[in-house]
């Protein structure tokens, strides 16, 4: 593999839970500044794939490469072994993760949620971290909510804080795991709006989503997965309008009807 022009490469990733093969050797290439939307039916492995990128999910074989560096393992003396914990942590900092269930820290205010990792992991001073956190909150439209605890915020607001928290670490790639699936319908728009702005600004993003209209609008590449495999991959126009495989056609007619 050429190390120069590859940004994020997922190579033949396999993952099984017992007898169930969640990922059957998935390969995916993500260019810097591109938006990749991963779609597909539930249980198709799209969240699992996303979680392998920042090591939340271990892999059985295959590898993730970021800028040519293997993530999570290292090859020394002809053997491939897990990296040291400290290095694993610094590798995760390349990726920012936004979860379906937000996972804000309920014991901390919105501002403290955003400031925690910059202060504790990056060693930024509290005052500087606070200034940056306030800017990020303003960017996601929540400048007034800094002192609120997560349970005082709506789902949409919580998810926007979670996005700000991920951005605060200055990640090179943003990973979204069904960011709007846990939201009431009227709150989906405000979260998608924030992600849309990030796309316009040129962030590299992988978004697992069920929002087809949104995917069509922001994605450079749409990846459709089914049963642990990528069945269709390409520009939104190709994949959504002229799917080649029967499985993809079936899926898209089902979701467009729903």
């Amino acid at each position: 593999m050429s190390t120069e022009n590859s940004f994020l490469e997922l190579v033949r990733i396999r993952k099984s839970y017992g007898d169930f093969e969640a990922l059957k050797g998935v390969s995916l290439s993500v260019a810097r500044g591109s938006v990749t939307c991963v779609v597909g039916p539930s249980g198709s492995g799209k969240s699992t794939l996303l979680r392998t990128v920042n090591m939340l999910e271990s892999i059985d074989s295959g590898a993730v490469f970021f800028k040519g560096e293997m993530i999570g393992q290292v090859v020394t003396g002809g053997r491939r072994v897990p990296v040291r914990k400290r290095q694993a942590r610094s590798q995760t900092l390349n990726f920012g993760m936004v979860f379906q269930g937000f996972h804000l820290f309920p014991n901390l205010t919105a501002l403290d949620n955003i400031m925690l990792a910059p202060v504790r992991v990056l060693g930024i001073s509290r005052s500087e971290a606070r200034a940056r956190a306030e800017k990020l909150l303003a960017r996601v439209g929540l400048a007034e909510k800094g002192e609120s605890y997560p349970n005082q915020l709506s789902g949409g607001q919580q998810q926007r804080v979670a996005i700000a928290r991920a951005l605060a670490m200055g990640p090179e790639v943003l990973l979204f795991d069904e960011p709007t699936s846990a939201l009431d319908p009227e709150l989906v728009g405000e979260v998608l709006e924030v992600i849309r702005e990030l796309a316009v600004e040129g962030s590299t993003m992988i978004i697992v989503t069920h929002e087809m209209h949104f995917a069509r609008e922001v994605a450079d590449t749409i990846v459709m997965m089914d049963a642990g495999e990528i069945v269709e991959m390409g520009a939104p126009g190709e994949v959504l309008d002229q799917p080649r495989s029967a499985r993809a056609r079936k899926f898209f007619t089902t979701v467009s009807r729903g």
């Binding site: 090591m55 610094s90 995760t92 900092l93 993760m97 014991n107 504790r120 605890y149 349970n151 991920a166």
Partner: protein, 321 residues
């Protein structure tokens, strides 16, 4: 519901024509309902309070003057001090042991998990009294205590009876007991925090120490404060069990006085009063902890405020006619 019925139901105008009588009733204040049940419970309550008053305060055989004369006497206060000292040190040591045991129970190492499990099993099965006696008579099992290689030479050692005083026996017994009890509480607290919190910490690159210190710990403390306070308060009273080995804490002191003077009831009352005071302090501290770590879980203190009995209607448009 049919479409017509639905639309009739939701039909709304700013102020529909309602008979004046209904409007007057609708604007009335809502009060709590008077019921014979509230009178009965008040009567029963009053009866209990009066009987208790007669039984205690007005009861000369309780010998309140004797109680007052002993309450702050030097020996009793020394006993109380010993009780506090024993409780505080044993609690700190026991909770540390509990944290370590809980960490072992949750660790990846099978050996550590089994060791922790066996310890918890023993500490649950053995009455505290037995634990204290065992530690006190440890010399019968091993005349010398030291650190060395099992079955091999020991590097430092001392006679068991020099190390195990009444105080250290009490301390070790109580700590071992609380260690096993609190380990399960700590474990429950940590497992009560959702998996997503751990994942969010990992995704942000937080170290395990930071994860537990800043995120998991504070959330676990909120959950474990009530059961753990229960255990710590029980420790105050459990210290009275060490009277069997003659360590002069509060109850032992009281017993040794009334065995001479036969003022049994007054002196036991003195002990009860002190245990009440100590428990009050512990409960006050529990309240502080709960408030501190309840932040972010109780929107605007709504759960803590007591509901008001009467509901006053807001300034409705009652006079728009």
């Amino acid at each position: 519901m049919t479409t017509e019925a639905k639309s009739a139901h939701v039909k709304s105008t700013a102020e529909p024509a309602v008979p004046a009588g209904l409007t007057a009733q609708a604007d009335m204040e809502i009060r709590s309902r008077r019921s014979w049940k509230s009178w009965v419970s008040a009567a029963v309550g009053l009866y209990l309070v009066l009987s208790l008053y007669e039984f205690t305060i007005m009861n000369d055989r309780w010998q309140w003057d004797v109680i007052w004369s002993y309450l702050f006497s030097q020996r009793i206060v020394a006993g109380v001090a010993n009780t506090i000292l024993l409780t505080v040190i044993a609690t700190v040591a026991g909770l540390l042991l509990g944290v370590v045991t809980a960490a072992c129970r949750l660790s990846d190492s099978r050996l550590l998990r089994v060791i922790a499990y066996v310890y918890i099993w023993f500490s649950r099965a053995t009455p505290l009294l037995v634990v204290i006696l065992f530690v006190f008579f440890l010399a019968a099992l091993t005349p010398r205590l030291g650190i060395g290689i099992p079955f091999g030479p020991s590097f430092v050692s001392a006679p068991t009876n020099d190390l195990i005083s009444r105080f250290t026996a009490a301390l070790v017994g109580l700590s071992l007991y609380l260690g096993g009890k609190s380990a399960e509480i700590f474990r429950a607290g940590i497992t009560s925090v959702s998996k997503g919190q751990f994942e969010a910490c990992r995704a942000l690159g937080l170290s395990p120490r930071e994860t537990y210190q800043r995120v998991i710990g504070p959330q676990a403390i909120r959950v474990i404060t009530p059961p753990l306070s229960n255990e710590v308060i029980t420790m105050f009273k459990n210290t009275s069990l060490v009277s069997v080995i003659g360590f002069s804490e509060l109850l032992t002191t009281v017993q040794s006085i009334y065995s001479r003077t036969f003022e049994t009831i007054p002196l036991l009352t003195v002990a009860v009063i002190w245990y009440l005071l100590l428990t009050s302090v512990a409960m006050y501290l529990q309240g502080l902890l709960e408030r501190r770590f309840g932040r972010g879980f109780d929107p605007a203190g709504r759960l803590r405020r007591r509901p008001r009995k009467t509901v006053r209607p807001g300034g409705g448009p009652g006079d728009v006619h």
